[in-house]
Symmetry: C2
DNA sequence: ATTGGCAGTCATGTCGGGTGAGTGCCAGTC
DNA sequence: GACTGGCACTCACCCGACATGACTGCCAAT
């Protein structure tokens, strides 16, 4: 049975090990923390924790270090949310203070988070709230290829290349552009997609295929969010904590260069009621990230679906501090991206 | 005096050291290469090379390794351009084969180059050729902020946030948009910028400041290239060759995360007549990259100014192979981005 | 100019002993 | 029953000694 004190012991083992990077023994525990019992008693508690696979000894007769499971218990039960320090709040305020372009806001956010936590920071692009089509532009790139640009009034700009396979006359292109704008300008995105599905019908048989093709691509653009992208910063921090990885950081760097992997990981995280979620060590093994932990929190941009942001680092990380930073940044970002819209016309 | 044979010795020292990562001694040279002289003779040659600071001994009585200066001589005089292998050419063809969106082409290019060389690959965005304004869109983001989107017929889409500081009525915004498009649509970029500089004059005194502000930002957009951006791939390769860096790869990763640094580095490279340029070891020290070498080649997108692409890796790298790959990829990319326009309307 | 020979240097690997941190267990105490 | 002090035992780690081997630099001979 794991007593209350045993869990306290686990807590200090995690804390001390994270701070010192050295296995922590019974003696150093009684020295550094006022447990009011002797080292032998702590040893008994440690035996229980080892029984439960919450801690382990790297080799006979050395101190103990937490297992993945131990970290998990620590994160779930033992980490008391400590509010950010004043300078940290300050940093967030000033860094995210003035708003700007979405790209820039996210860029600043991800750099901020990485500096705050000294880990790799990740921010997924948000879906924006219900918005309307503002303008559609078709730009000829070569005789058979056209770039379509969709602008919505939420500020999203989405470009895509269309290869029609057949040459296109300039007049027809102009006609297409005018008709497209006439039919979907100002419409909500769902309505626009519906309208586009029958767009090709108004053209002559010879032209309908091309018009239909363009409408189909545009329809994709209308419906596509940007949640399939994320920005990253602070990869260098992995090198700083290099010793926490067995062998090399090569596989870790390789895995995080693959955005698809990270997005899948984000997608599979199961947030608690506050939107927070942690994934520790081998829980990430299927993503090639079994030697890392990932802390994420959800955030929303005014009315859109929740997106996620977070940090990735070695299992031996400062969970308490990093959790606080991730939560706080997610909170501020939601507010920032929310306010943009609320103060709207 | 450095004899002809001395330079041959330098060549094999570079080659063998790059391949084996171990200091190379006189004996192994006569064993592995048919010099027709004895080890003692090679030793004499090596003494000359050491005198010239082209090679150095890590410690008394061990083999020699090239100095930065030695690599420089190797690259400038001794590296015979070896054409790419058939599979490599094949890879380039298939990878870059079908063209698409500029973002996608550059993304594929940078991944290709990193796989070909097993180094960090870098591609700077090109300036596109002379192009015309296709459309200007103003999207209200909040009561005082507007996003301006510029689309040119070369396919560039540039968005920027404008904070006007004062509330803006919707009708005025519509009026602005219409007048902007009327005055610069279809114009070449230089002409458009000129027109924009006096754009504010046509408005009443109360509105001129706002109109002028918008015109000024738009003018910046019109003139801005995208050469201030670059894409990167293969950062993980640095970890693979970790041992080639004294201490940690942390400072290197940190430096390459700073795009500004890399762009400055690109800017200061002095290409030879073929557009190629190498910067070795301490030559990069001012960028925090004194332990790396950078190989770049210029490329152009139909009519634009030359941009650069290249690889970055440890000083001890396969210069011959990487130089060939960089040259070849630059060549193919130029052709790809050039053809797009030549087959244009 | 080239060569063979030889003494000298130095990194590397191995082995053994000493050290110390830390555990597990047990008998005794509260 | 929970806690404690004591003790034997286990290893990782450090250190010095020693052997090994790969080189070089130099010199006299060709």
């Amino acid at each position: 049975m794991v007593s209350e004190r045993s869990l306290d012991v686990l807590r200090v083992i995690v804390q001390d090990y994270v701070a010192s990077r050295e296995p922590v023994g019974s003696k150093s525990i009684v020295e550094r923390h006022a447990f009011g019992v002797s080292a032998a008693t702590i040893r008994n508690d440690m035996a229980v924790l080892e029984e439960e696979e919450l801690i382990t000894a790297p080799h006979t007769s050395s101190g103990r270090i937490p297992t993945d499971k131990g970290y998990r218990v620590f994160v779930d039960q033992l980490a008391d949310l400590r509010p950010l320090s004043a300078p940290q709040r300050q940093a967030i305020e000033t860094f995210l203070g003035r708003s700007a372009d979405l790209d820039e806001v996210l860029g600043r956010t991800v750099r901020l988070l990485s500096q705050l936590t000294h880990q790799v920071a990740l921010v997924q692009y948000p879906t924006l709230g219900p918005s309307r089509v503002r303008h559609v532009e078709l730009v000829p790139m070569s005789s058979t290829r056209v770039m379509s640009v969709l602008i919505t009034d939420s500020g999203r700009v989405d470009q895509r290349m269309i290869d029609l396979g057949v040459p296109l006359e300039t007049e027809f292109l102009g006609d297409l552009r005018a008709r497209l704008n006439a039919s979907i300008d100002g419409l909500g995105l769902a309505d626009a997609a519906a309208r586009l599905s029958t767009f090709g019908d108004q053209f002559s048989a010879s032209r309908a295929p091309v018009a239909g093709q363009v409408a189909a691509i545009l329809s994709e653009q209308v419906l596509a969010g940007r949640q399939d992208r994320l920005v990253m910063a602070g990869a260098a921090n992995l090198a700083r904590t290099e010793d926490d990885f067995t062998g090399s950081i090569f596989p870790v760097l390789e895995a995080i260069e693959e955005q698809v992997t990270l997005l899948r990981l984000f997608g599979e995280m199961a947030p608690d009621e506050s939107g927070f979620s942690a994934s520790i060590g081998r829980e990430n093994a299927s993503f090639g990230l079994g030697e890392t932990s990932v802390l994420t929190s959800g955030y929303t941009a005014s009315g859109g679906d929740p997106a996620r942001l977070g940090v990735l680092g070695p299992i031996r990380m400062d969970y308490v501090g990093n959790m606080a930073a991730v939560r706080a940044v997610a909170h501020y970002l939601s507010r920032l991206l929310g306010d943009d819209e609320r103060s709207d016309r």
